[in-house]
Assembly symmetry: C2
Homo-oligomer: 241 residues x 2
């Protein structure tokens, strides 16, 4: 019955945007959706494109990057499976304010603005969920704004890593690692510094046994000490001795 483009309703399960909806409602939501593949390195949409679609990620990892007038880039946030993205501009702008770059091969579902608006009007629960999502992101960005405005680089990098661990941490032997490839440049663009400074900081931490990093990969060996740096606490006992 389902056409070739109709996604499996199961993909909506666990999405915060559709939390609290009945199965019948979910089925309705999915009828308006389209699935799409985005190859690694490609973009789901580009900064400046007309914002006529809403997006949700099924699989992969997406980087939201804002580019300034003279080319400087800032990583606004990372998107993982189950998260919505590119929905804010739908209700508040005519064009997307960021690039959505696939860091791995991705699968996403999209809705037209008209369809999503209609769904929200008939199911206010979706609109309220969306408010919660956007509100949480606003708070997160405000926190980052305060960090970058008032904290030293080292603390900002610590905060960024901790945020990544919370969002995409994977327990491994000897610590926690960030479960997707991440360059020094990426971290620099998250923290408002340069890849050189990030590299220096990670090297110093590595020398202290705090982290272990290799190409596009970071593992935190002693999260509590990283927290201490992030919160500017006196260094806790070094258990590595």
């Amino acid at each position: 019955m389902a056409g070739p483009r109709a996604p499996d309703p199961a993909v909506l399960h666990g999405m915060r945007l559709f939390a609290g909806l009945e199965a019948a409602d979910l089925a309705e939501v999915i009828r308006f959706a389209q699935t799409r593949r985005v190859a690694k390195g490609a973009t789901a949409f580009k900064q400046g494109d007309p914002a006529d679609t809403c997006h949700a990620l099924i699989d992969g990892r997406i980087k939201m990057v804002q580019t300034g007038a003279d080319g400087q880039q800032v990583v606004v946030r990372f998107i993982g499976p189950g998260e919505t993205f590119g929905t804010v501009a739908t209700f508040s702008g005519v064009s997307f304010p960021v690039d959505a770059v696939a860091m791995a091969d991705c699968v996403e579902v999209t809705w037209t603005n008209a369809a999503m608006t209609d769904l929200m009007q008939r199911h206010p629960r979706i609109a309220l969920n969306a408010l919660g999502i956007v509100g949480a992101r606003l708070q997160e960005v405000q926190n980052r704004l305060r960090e970058v405005s008032t904290e030293r680089v080292e603390r900002r990098v610590a905060h960024a890593l901790l945020r990544l661990v919370r969002q995409a941490g994977r327990r491994v032997e000897g610590g926690v690692e960030i479960s997707f490839p991440l360059t020094r440049q990426d971290v620099a663009e998250m923290t408002g510094t340069t890849l050189h400074t990030v590299s220096r900081i990670l090297s110093a931490w590595e020398a202290q046994g705090l982290v272990e990093s290799s190409r596009q990969q970071v593992m935190i060996r002693q999260p509590h000490r990283l927290v201490a740096i992030a919160e500017d606490m006196p260094a806790p006992d070094d258990e590595s001795a």
Copy 2:
């Protein structure tokens, strides 16, 4: 007929949050509202307070300030008459993430979270309006994040002043002035620098005839030159000669 606490329905007119609602709906909205006065220097709510109310400003000017663990403050945004504030935490947090400080004597209306949620469910239009408002703020904060991450202080101050002019500019003889009292410290907290640096920059600009500033007051004499600084353009012709 209206009780002593019931606000005049007219105050809702022009509020973006309630745009597109019928008069009857507005009347319903106002039935759940309470008016409240906030004296200059007092707070409508404090960072960390349980977020159990939504707010809209009728008159005055409010400064949203986030305070970090060790006391450093950042001005997140200013709120003018007709704007909603303190509504984000309602749907995404348990406590307010900022202080709302009255910069002048203020009048606000408030709703309980329960009332606002209920109103949104019965009038999805309100929820969609809220999404637009929060989305626009998210974009603004993202822009500031990029600025503070990649731009020099002077450009950031220029951007901040231009943003203030757009939001609360008043044409006066000889230029445009910001229509509410604003200290160097405020500007510093908007741009992630110190009041000393702001003072130095304004002094330099004043020497060039670009602005005119006095205690808690800034007037822009040559907006186009300020734009040139903000956008890092080569200095335009100096018309003051």
